[in-house]
Amino acid sequence: MQIVLAYRRLLLTAVLCLGTTLAVAQTPPTFRLGIAPHTSARVILEMYQPLRAQLEKALGVPVEVVTAPDFTEFARRMLHQEYDIAVTTGHQARLAQTDGEYLPLTTYAAEFRAVALVAGTSKFKSAKDLTGKPVLGLSPTSLVTLWGQHWMKQNGNPDTLRYVSASDSVARLVLSGEAVAGFTSLANYQSLSRELQAQMRFLVISEPLAGRVYMLNKRQAAHKDQIDATLTAFAGSIEGKAYFEKYKLEGYRKLKPKELEAMEPYAKEVRASLQ
C-alpha cells in the first residue's frame, strides 16, 4: 500500500515537474541584470529601472533587475552564472573576470571611495579610538568593508567589523549609538539626506577605488557590441543623464588598463570567503 502511495506521489511529482518545466519553457527568455546590494533592494530596483527599460527596448527581451541579500550571496550567484550583466564593485568584478569568465563592459565615471562615518558629535579621530567598540561594515565581501578592515588593521585596530545589509542602515545605526563607526561608500553617503549628512563626519576617506563595474556574462558575448552601444546610448539619453545626475555617477567611462587586476588582493579575500 505504501509502495502504491509512494508511486502515486512520485508520478504526481513528475507530472508537476513537467508542468513547471513547460510553464518555464513557455515564458520568454529573460535578460537578468544583477546589481550588487550596495544599498537596499528597493533603492536598487528604483535606481536601475531607466537602464532596464533601455536594455529591454534594445534587446527585445524582458529584462529584470535583481539583487542579492548580501555581497557574498551576490558573488556566489554571479559565479553560478545567474546574471547576464553583473554590476558590482571592482574586487568582485575582478573575481567575475577571473573565476566566472565575465567580460568587463564599463564603469561609472565618478570616483569610488570608501569612507568611515562617525557621529558628528563623537570624539573619535583614529582607528585606535575605535578599538573595542562596535564598528559596522556592509558584508564581509563588500569592497568598502574589506578596505575598512584593512585600514583598521593597518592602523592598529585588530577588531572585526559587524555587518549590516544596507549602507543607509549604517548611518542610522551610528547615529542611534548602536555602533561608533561604520564603513560605506562616498556615493552612498552622498545619497543620504542632507539632514543625516549634517549629523555625521568622516573619520577617513580612501583613495579612489575601482567602483561598480558592468561585467557581461560570457553567454552574452555575441551581443557585447550591441550592449556596449546600448549603454552608450543610455548615457546619452535624457533618462540616462537624469540617472547619472540623480546618483552623482557622472556617466560611464572605460576601465583603465590593469584597473581590475589592482583589485586582485580584495578579490582573493572574497574567493577565500566563498570557499
Partner: protein, 638 residues
Amino acid sequence: MSLPGKIRMPLQSVRARFLLAAVLVEAVMLTLLVSNSLRLMNTYLVEQVEQHARQITPILSAATVAPMAQRDYATVQSVLDESLSQKGVSYLVVLDAQNVRVASSGWPKDQPLPVADKGFDLALQSTNPVHHVQTPILMFGQRLGTLYMGMDLSHILAARKALLTQGTLIALGELMLSAVLLMVLGLWLTRHLVDLTRASREVTAGNLSPAPVNEGEDELGQLGAAFNAMSRTIKQRVLDLVQAKEQAEQSNRAKSDFLATMSHEIRTPMNGIMGMTDLVLDTPLNEEQRELLGVVKSSATSLLNIINEILDFSKIEAGKVELESIEFDLDQLMRHCLAPLRVRAQTKGLEISTDSSGKLSTYLVGDPNRLRQVLTNLVGNAIKFTSEGLITVGWECLPDQPHRYRFWVSDTGIGIPPEKQISVFEAFTQADSSTTRTYGGTGLGLTISSTLVHLMGGKISLRSALKQGSTFEFTVPLKAGRSMELGPDNSHLPVKLPATGDAVGSGLRVLLVEDHPINQKLAISLIERSGHHVTLAQNGEEGLHAAMRQPFDLVFMDMQMPVMDGLEATRAIRAYESSRGLPHMPIVAMTANALPSDRKSCEDAGMNGFLSKPFKANELRELLSQTQARLHAAEPAA
C-alpha cells in the same frame, strides 16, 4: 349567513380571511425584509472582503518586493507564513517572474494553483468558502512575480447563515405574534357581527323579538341600530299580516257560515213547497188543477236544481267541496242515475242506450254522489241539447290502467262549434248566449262537473262538431272495493236500520223531531198517509224526553234546532239506551246540511241514516216501507 349547525369551512368567516390576508402580507413583507437584509449584508460583506484583499495585497507586495528582488525566497516564505496567521487569509503563494513557485503557505505544494475568481458572489461561494485572488508583485513597473492569495470566507458565510437563521426565526416569531394579535383584534372587531348573526338566526327561527344587538357610532354600531330597527319593523309587519290573515279567515268563515245558512234556509222552504205540492197531488183533483200543480212541482224542481248548482259552485269557489271515499256498486249507481233521465228523455222522444265493456269491477271505492252528479249533468245536457236521435252513456275500465275508469256521454244534438269548445267548461258559459234563452240553465253545470272530475283526480274532455252532436268523456281513478251486503239503494241510508222488535202491527211508531212548522206538517202528512203514527217533538230536548218515555220504530231527527240540536239529542238518546241496556232505535238525520262532513258528524253521533232536505215524498215512503219490512222480517225470528 350560514344556518346553525352547518359546517363552516375554515375560510368562510370574514375574520379568517382578514387574518389570512394580513398574515400573507406580513409574510411577504418580512420575506422582503429578510432577503433585502441578506442582500445588503452580502453586498457589505463582499465589499469588506474585497477591501480586505485590497488592503492586504499591497502590504504583502511591499513586504515581498525586496526579498523577491534579492531572490531571498526564505524571507518571502517567512513573510507569507507570518501573513497567513492573520485572520481572513486562507493561503498565500508567490511565483517569480518566470512563474516558478518560490514560496507557499497554506496551499499544498504538490497541488496546482487555483484560477483566480473573476467576480465575487457570496451566494456562489457557499460551497467553497475561499475567494481566490491573484495579483502581480510590481515595483517601479518591473514585475517581480505573482502573489496568489485565498481569502477565507468561512466566518463571513457563518455570519450570513446566522443572520439568515436568526432573521427567519425573528420573522416567524413576529408572524405568530401578529397572527395572535390580529386574531384577538378580529374577535374584538367582529363581536358585533357575531351578535348580529345570533339575532338574525333567532329572527329566522321565528323569534320576532330577539335581544337587541349593540348599537354605536361606528359602522358596525350603525349596522346594529339598523338591524334593531329592521327587526322591530318586521315584527310589526308580521303582526299586521297575522291580524289581516285572521280577519280574512274570519271573513271566510262568515262566508262559509252564510253559505251553509243559505243552503239550509233555501232548502227548507223548498222542501215545504215540493212536499206540499206532492200532498196536494195525492188528493182528488180535476185535470186542470193537476196540470197546474204539475207545473208548480216542475218549476220547484228546476228551481231546486238551479239553487243546488249555485250552491255547489259557491262551495267550489270557497274550496268547501269535500269528497267521500266510500265503497259503492257501479252498476247500481248507473242504473239509479239513468232511470229518471230515461224518463226525461222519453218525454222528448229520445232514447238512452248504455255501453259498458271490458272487465269491470262492480264494487268500487270513490265518491258515488259526485260521480252521479257529473253523469246526471252530462246526460241532462245531452237531453237538453238533443231534439232527435240517440244518447249513449258508456263506461269502461282503462285496459292499461286498472284503477282508472272512463265515462262518456254522446249525443246527436246541436253540437258545439270548435271556437266555443275551449270555453264551455268556464263558469256562466254556454256555447251561445241564445242557448240560455232557448234551453235555459245557469251555465254552471259543465264548470261544476269539470271541477268535480279534477277534484276526483281525473280529466274531462270534449269532442264535438256543429250539428253532428257532442261527446263528453272523463276519466277518474276508482279503486276496486270488496263486495258489500247492501239493500236495494242505501245511498241515502248507508247504515242498516236496526229493528226494535216491538213495532205496532198496523203502522210504525215514528218520532219526528223537527222545529220548522212547515216541515213538521209535511212530514206528519206523509208519514200518517202511509199509515204510521207520529209523535212530534219541537226540539232535541223534547225528542230525548219522548224517546225516554217510550221506544219508537223510527226517529226522524232534524239537525239544527233550538234548545238542543239533533246531534246532541242523538248522543243523549244513545247514552240513555246504553245505560238501560235497551236496543238502539233507528235514527235518521233529516237536514238540509248536505256536506259529507255533516254525514260524518251524524254517524259519529250514533245516527243510522241520512235524508237530505228537501226530501221527496217517495223517498220518505220508501224509507218507511223498508223499516216496516225489516220489522216484519225480524218478528218471526223473535
